[in-house]
């Protein structure tokens, strides 16, 4: 008999501002069973009158005991994300259950090269993969599409990322002068310049808003990547 995925109490230990509108919550979750990079959790908030609501958030950190990190982008008219980023304080408790999802995951013992393609906050589960790589031999390439430099998550850490992980920043609206690429949406030329050729048989993970994921997956298959090796996770325009 499979046991029900239990709701656990998580306590906010600290929070890091990633951008003016996104925060990483560092949570202590006693008894956390561990997770694979790419998985998510369901968060449940309950009001004093008993009303409760749930949302899913990708896990940002590599599995590390009882510690869980979620990076939350504030959705302007959202019901849950503004609470998590603006109201929740260290010591406050929320409920969550997980880890959830057995498809959009990278298993650190797998060997093909890895191609990560993230749009906006779609970087979060991909960052968990980068962080879980550790000393593995598997070479990673990360294509990170973002509107402008002010939207960059994990800036310092990506700057210092170790050998074996190549990061390309694809700015869509405003590119810094040294970007080496004019601002614009992800194109086939980017996949050729910064990705892996299809012949190398990479495991591909694409995460971001629906339009971004649709477009990236179409470009990848047109280039000859095996659709069966392209795993996608889409954030709808709603949520929050």
């Amino acid at each position: 008999m499979i046991k029900r995925l239990a709701w656990r109490v998580a306590t906010l230990e600290s929070a890091r501002q990633e951008t003016p509108t996104a925060k990483t919550l560092v949570l202590d979750v006693p008894g956390w069973p561990g997770h694979l990079p790419g998985q998510h959790v369901d968060v449940r908030l309950t009001a004093p009158d008993g009303y409760s609501t749930q949302r899913s958030y990708s896990i940002a950190n590599a599995s590390a005991g009882d510690r869980l990190e979620l990076t939350v982008q504030t959705v302007d008219d959202g019901e849950v994300s503004p609470y998590l980023t603006d109201v929740l304080e260290p010591g406050d408790q929320i409920e969550l259950r997980g880890p959830v999802g057995g498809w959009f995951v990278w298993r650190p013992h797998s060997s093909p090269p890895v191609l990560l393609i993230g749009g906006g906050s779609g970087i979060v589960p991909l960052m968990a993969m980068v962080r879980s790589r550790g000393k593995a031999d598997t070479p990673f390439r990360l294509l990170y599409s973002l509107r402008d430099p002010g939207q960059l998550f994990y800036a310092d850490e990506l700057e210092k990322v170790k050998a074996g992980v190549e990061v390309a920043y694809l700015y869509t609206r405003i590119a810094p002068p040294d970007a080496g690429r004019a601002a614009g949406r992800l194109q086939t030329a980017d996949l050729i310049a910064y990705g892996w050729p299809p012949e190398t048989g990479p495991d591909v993970f694409v995460c971001g808003p629906t339009g971004f994921v649709e477009s990236a997956a179409d470009l990848l298959t047109a280039l000859g990547h095996d659709p069966a090796k392209i795993r996608t996770e889409r954030f709808g325009p709603t949520g929050g």
């Binding site: 499979i2 309950t46 057995g102 325009p237």
Partner: protein
């Protein structure tokens, strides 16, 4: 009831009997898929009902459109927590597609262009509970939402409503599909909040 979240009040709301537990209402139509969107040319499209021994029935696109059509209006519930009310579809009832099928099978596996699969008890497809639909909101169904045609089983979480459907296999034993082997609930009743294994 769980622990109270300090200073959380939630949105102003009326209790809504149409909203299953843990769901919230949306007015757009989010897209969720595990991989690239397959593109299926209509002249190569076909839909089959088959068993382990082979096909029982097969329809081309023209033959499928010539079948009696229904226009169900239904509420959708996605396991990722959003629900959408009053969606309008056009398609063929599974009761029509199964009309001449004689089988002792108790289970069905819906399979799709692109390789997706999902399993359900056969009875959940019958008696006006399921359709193969090709229009949404009066327009032809767009590929990201499952076009040319998708299964529609609105009384279960939306992952059971296989996009890009290619056929339905009748089985004597239950055969868990794509999400059902990746940690999600085998049946997926939103009213019992059967999201994950063990719920």
């Amino acid at each position: 009831m769980g622990i109270i979240s300090r200073a959380f009040h939630g949105r102003p709301r009326e209790p809504d009997a149409k909203l299953p537990p843990g769901q919230y209402l949306v007015h757009d139509f989010p897209v969720l898929s595990a991989g690239p969107t397959p593109r299926v040319p209509l002249d190569r499209w076909e839909f089959s009902i088959d068993t382990a021994e082979g096909p029982v029935h097969r329809w081309s696109w023209e033959e499928f459109l010539a079948l009696p059509q229904e226009t169900p209006t239904v509420d959708l519930h996605c396991v990722t927590k959003w629900s959408k009310f009053g969606t309008g579809w056009k398609g063929v009832s599974l009761d029509v597609l199964m009309e001449d099928v004689e089988s002792a099978a108790e289970y069905a596996l819906a399979y799709s262009y692109g390789g997706y699969t999902t399993n359900l008890p056969l009875e959940d497809l019958l008696d006006g509970k399921a359709w193969v639909v090709h229009e949404f909101d009066g327009e032809e169904l767009e590929p990201p939402h499952g076009g040319p045609a998708r299964l529609l089983v609105p009384h279960l979480y939306l992952w059971k409503s296989a996009k890009w459907i290619k056929g339905i296999r009748l089985l004597n034993e239950d055969w868990p599909g794509f999400w059902e082997t990746a940690g999600y609930h085998n049946y997926g009743d939103p009213w019992r909040e059967q999201r994950y294994d063990g719920d």
